[in-house]
């Protein structure tokens, strides 16, 4: 009798335990994680470089992100005691970064391009650069640093870059018996070729025109036509952003759509230009280095050429750069510097495929300057000496909103001059 009572008690206890375990499972796990977090911060507080976990925020996703994670792993292997936590912010990069700075809890290392907006939250790197000869600062393309300096201080090291060129589908040219474009070709040449290569019955067009352009990218054309979006001293846009040359430089794209030898891509209801080019439905496509691998994979026989020139003027390029910076609030600046240095080292740069190497030695080693496909990117790097607008005025992002509206309207067939005039009119208030 006693035996059965004990047995029953035992069974009941097992059941009760099981039930309470089910109920409490979540909580205990949660608190465990919390503890983990606590110990980490304690460790970090104790030791500046020894045992540290540094957070690295990136805007990349997909393949590019995987490469960055591999770089982080290699760094960890070479630097025992430092852990790198890669945080892919993706589309929400700006918001999350701003939130991190606002909460004084930013990632230690982050991708950076918009130095005028963030430089106050970033650690100046000049001291590190001077101290650390292993960085080999002379091996970097000097033009890259212009973008990363605010008020004479260096806030980021370039990790990768691209300039913009014209891709062309050799097969379409060959089929039409048209010679490939050569550097120094003009916009008129472009128009003539595009018209010839447009066959609306096959939904084939001479050139793809973005519906939603980034005004930053269009600056190369504006500069090539001898104008700019803002005065060099950053004080005026009237006569710059809405100059005749600016209107003409942007207008050529709208005109291509309007006159039918260009097609709008990438907006709502449309495929992206990269995809259409891959499908062989556009002959010419202006872009950076990013889609090149995809074109090759898609089996497109692709060629590259410098963008066209406006008559009698030099072609100018615009540089898109990924830099890495250290947050001013970082608690592990030494460790962060080690990671930044590794990230721009020869080993890491060679692992990157989505953009172009920033080190002269690697470019020479790989013979990019001799490779017809890559050569235009480096010749355009030499032509990218103009200062982009966002470096010249702190309120540029507000001005840019209006400019973007104007550009979008131009692509949709509106008069370029009128649209730009309106944008300037509405943006004057931001200059004061």
């Amino acid at each position: 009798m006693k035996k059965s009572a004990m047995l029953l008690t035992a069974i009941m206890m097992v059941i009760v335990l099981a039930l309470s375990a089910c109920g409490g499972g979540g909580n205990s796990e949660g608190s465990k994680d919390q503890n983990k977090g606590n110990t980490n911060t304690q460790n970090e507080g104790k030791d500046g470089t020894g045992n540290a976990t540094i957070r690295f925020a990136t805007w990349d996703t997909g393949e590019a992100l995987k490469i960055q994670q591999e770089i982080a792993k290699k760094f960890e292997a070479a630097h025992p005691g430092i852990k790198v936590q890669v945080e892919p912010y993706g589309d929400g990069f700006d918001q999350k970064l701003a939130a991190g700075f606002g909460a004084s809890n930013p990632p230690d290392v982050m991708y950076m391009w918009d130095f005028p907006t963030y430089y106050k939250s970033l650690e100046p790197l000049d001291g590190f650069v001077e101290k650390d000869e292993t960085l080999q600062i002379d091996d970097f393309y000097p033009g890259l640093f212009a973008y990363n300096k605010v008020e004479g201080n260096l806030y980021g090291l370039p990790a990768g870059f691209t300039t913009r060129v014209f891709y062309y589908n050799k097969k379409l040219f060959d089929d039409a018996g048209i010679p490939y474009p050569q550097d120094g070709w003009s916009w008129d040449d472009m128009k003539a070729i595009a018209q010839k290569l447009t066959d609306k019955s096959k939904k084939q067009y001479g050139i793809g025109v973005r519906a939603d352009n980034d005004t930053y990218d269009l600056q190369g054309f504006v500069w090539s036509n001898g104008s700019s979006l803002i005065s060099d001293d950053g004080k005026a846009i009237e006569g710059y952003m809405n100059s005749k040359e600016t209107a003409e430089a942007i207008g050529v794209l709208g005109q291509a759509v309007k006159e039918g030898y260009g097609v709008l891509v990438g907006g709502k209801n449309q495929q992206s230009g990269d995809d259409i080019f891959k499908a062989g439905k556009i002959a010419m496509w202006e872009s950076g280095i990013w889609p090149l691998e995809g074109f090759k994979e898609a089996g497109i026989d692709v060629g590259t050429v410098e963008p066209p020139v406006f008559p009698g003027k030099d072609v100018k390029g615009v540089l898109a750069q990924s830099a890495v910076s250290i947050a001013k609030d970082s608690k592990h600046k030494e460790a962060a510097w080690e990671f930044v240095k590794f990230y721009v080292s020869e080993e890491a740069i060679k692992m990157r495929t989505a953009d172009l190497p920033i080190r002269i030695s690697i470019v020479e080693e790989k013979g990019f300057k001799e490779d017809a496909l890559y050569k235009p990117f480096y010749t355009m790097l030499e032509r990218s000496s103009n200062a982009p607008a966002f470096l010249l005025h702190p309120n540029w992002s507000q001005i840019n909103r209006n400019l973007s509206v104007a550009v979008e309207a131009i692509m949709l067939g509106n008069n370029p001059q009128e649209m730009l005039d309106q944008a300037v009119k509405e943006s004057e208030k931001f200059l004061k």
Binding site: S4, L8, I15
Partner: protein, 575 residues
């Protein structure tokens, strides 16, 4: 012996009635098993009831938790839609067009609206859009409206519908492949814009939230609870259903929880067997436990019963032996309990029986001896009496009166003495015979002694063994008196049950040792007279019991007093 199966069964059925061991065993088992079974049943019922209540509550809570989480998501969607709605109600937004925006201000408003939508979009949102009638949409460039317009849930929305249309839980094919995987689940909300006027009047707000988490939770719930889940709206449309092929049974355990945000109801169904599975486990454990305990009880009962009954059996066997005549049988007594006392009493009893039996055997033998002796002494009385009568006549003829009288009295005494047909005679008759004896003595010694008789009234009718007084009188004359000179007093007192006879003389008396020796029949006979006293004593004892008989008090040179006590009995013939 009956060796047929029926015989075995009959004997098997008889056994219980015969064996105390079986009865004890049954008793122990009943005593152990009844509480065991009731306790087992009770604890099974209590624990399984408790378990059901707990499990039921757990299930309810789990469903409530699901409901809460779905509600939280739905609420966020509803709030997002309401924000957008209030944004659009602002009259300055009237530039927003249904068609593709073309003018500067249209594009500007589009950008503002899209910025607003983007700001509303969280990680949990798959998409936040305003889809116009023409097929244009505002929002991030991730939607494929052509695909959207072919989705059945989208076309199912009536153009007249107003309010919140919850599109359910589904996979998305209407997003660009590079944006999100079509197999990921979303929950959708469509709110047709209520503007009576204005360009967006027939547009709809479309909000879709990532539902993979909720979907996982539903799946986890199903796995953990082994239940199937169904979410339905009030119209009975199935939003989510994991019932699959299983037909809903009427005895399913059902937890149902309506959502607070919309008309959906979360319903979890658990097959009856699954719900009661755990109590079945308890039941089997209880049954196993009970079986083990019953087995234990059985073993204990057998052991206890055999321990008790083996001792009882020993007593029984000893009794059987003693009953069969082996009176030397004794029970080994090794305890002080009732069985020990019983054994000891039995031993005493057997010992007593043995003594009694010896006594009886001895008495019987004595009687036989006496009878033999009596036969030995039996002379033909007729010869004796006829001879005595002849002598008497001769004496009368010769005129010797003394001899004739002596012969007469002797005849009378002998008559009493030789009549062996009656062992018990009345006191009256015995005293009459004593008178004849005394007449003889008076003739012999002359009138030298006096004799006083005092008999209580009614005592004369009482019975006394024959010839029991005469030897005593004879002793007085031969041993007590010198030449027949003295005083004899006979006193017979009748008490309620007893007669007390005191015979006293004032003769020579005797020592105490001699008086004791007189009553002991086994002692060496020194004089003739001694035997008579002992025989008289034996006569009383034989007739009435060992507690009766003679006692002698004597003082040398003073006299002797003999006292006889025997029970008072009346002669049957006198009644």
């Amino acid at each position: 012996m009956d060796r047929t199966p029926q015989g075995w069964i009959r004997r098997g059925l008889q056994l219980p009635r015969k064996s105390i061991r079986f009865k004890l065993l049954t008793f122990f088992l009943v005593v152990a098993i009844i509480p065991l079974l009731s306790l087992g049943f009770l604890s099974y019922r209590t624990s399984s009831d408790l378990l059901h209540v707990q499990f039921g509550k757990y299930g309810e809570n789990a469903v409530s938790q699901l409901q809460y989480q779905i509600d939280a998501q739905l609420r966020q969607m509803r709030l997002t839609a309401e924000y957008i709605h209030s944004y659009l109600l602002d009259p300055t937004k009237s530039v927003i067009t249904e068609e593709v925006p073309k003018s500067y201000s249209q594009i500007q408003e589009k950008n503002n609206l899209e910025d607003f939508l983007k700001a509303l979009k969280t990680e949990m949102h798959a998409g936040v859009f305003i889809v116009t009638k023409s097929g244009y949409f505002y929002g991030e460039n991730t939607l494929m409206p052509d695909v959207l317009r072919q989705e059945s849930w989208w076309t199912g929305i009536s153009p007249e519908f107003r309010g919140q249309y919850w599109t359910g839980l589904y996979e998305t094919h209407h997003y660009r492949a590079d944006y999100r995987d079509a197999s990921r689940k979303v929950m959708g909300l469509v709110v047709p814009i209520r503007n009576k006027e204005g360009p967006l009047k027939e547009s709809s707000i479309l909000i879709e939230m990532e539902a993979d988490d909720i979907y996982d939770q539903l799946k986890r719930f199903e796995r953990d609870m082994v239940a199937s889940l169904t979410i339905r709206n009030s119209a009975g449309k199935v939003i989510y259903d994991s019932l699959g092929d299983r037909e809903p049974q009427t005895d399913d355990v059902i937890w149902s929880q309506p959502l607070a945000e919309n008309d959906w109801t979360v319903e979890a169904r658990l097959p009856y067997e699954t719900f009661y599975q755990s109590s079945n486990v308890i039941r089997s454990y209880t049954v196993i436990g009970l079986a083990l305990s019953v087995l234990l009880a059985l073993i204990l009962a057998v052991w206890l019963a055999s321990k008790f009954t083996s001792r009882i059996k020993r007593v029984k066997d000893s009794m059987n032996k003693a009953g069969a005549g082996k009176l030397q049988t004794r029970i080994e007594v090794d305890s002080e309990d009732e069985l020990g006392v019983l054994g000891r009493s039995f031993n005493n009893m057997v010992a007593q029986i043995q003594t009694l039996l010896d006594e009886v055997t001895r008495t019987e033998q004595q009687k036989k001896e006496a009878e033999l002796r009596a036969i030995h002494y039996q002379i033909n009385p007729h010869l004796l009496f006829n001879t005595l009568n002849s002598i008497q006549w001769k004496a009368r003829l010769q005129g010797n009166e003394d001899i004739r009288k002596m012969l007469y009295h002797l005849t009378m005494v002998l008559e009493g003495n030789l009549d062996i047909t009656q062992e018990l005679v009345t006191v009256e008759r015995e005293l009459a015979m004593i008178d004849h004896f005394l007449h003889i003595q008076r003739i012999r010694y002359g009138d030298m002694f006096s004799y006083e008789v005092d008999v209580d009234q009614g005592a004369a009718e009482a019975l006394i063994p024959r010839m029991s007084l005469q030897p005593l009188f004879e002793n007085i004359f031969f041993h007590g008196f010198e030449d027949g000179e003295g005083l004899i007093t006979l006193k017979l007192q009748a008490e309620q049950e007893l007669l007390r006879l005191t015979l006293q003389d004032n003769g020579r008396g005797m020592t105490e040792e001699r008086a004791r020796a007189l009553l002991n029949p086994g002692s060496k006979r020194t004089t003739r007279g001694g035997l008579g006293v002992a025989n008289v004593d034996q006569k009383f004892k034989l007739h009435f019991g060992p507690q009766y008989g003679l006692s002698i008090e004597s003082t040398p040179e003073q006299g002797t007093s003999i006292m006889i006590v025997w029970p008072r009995k009346e002669s049957a013939s006198h009644e």
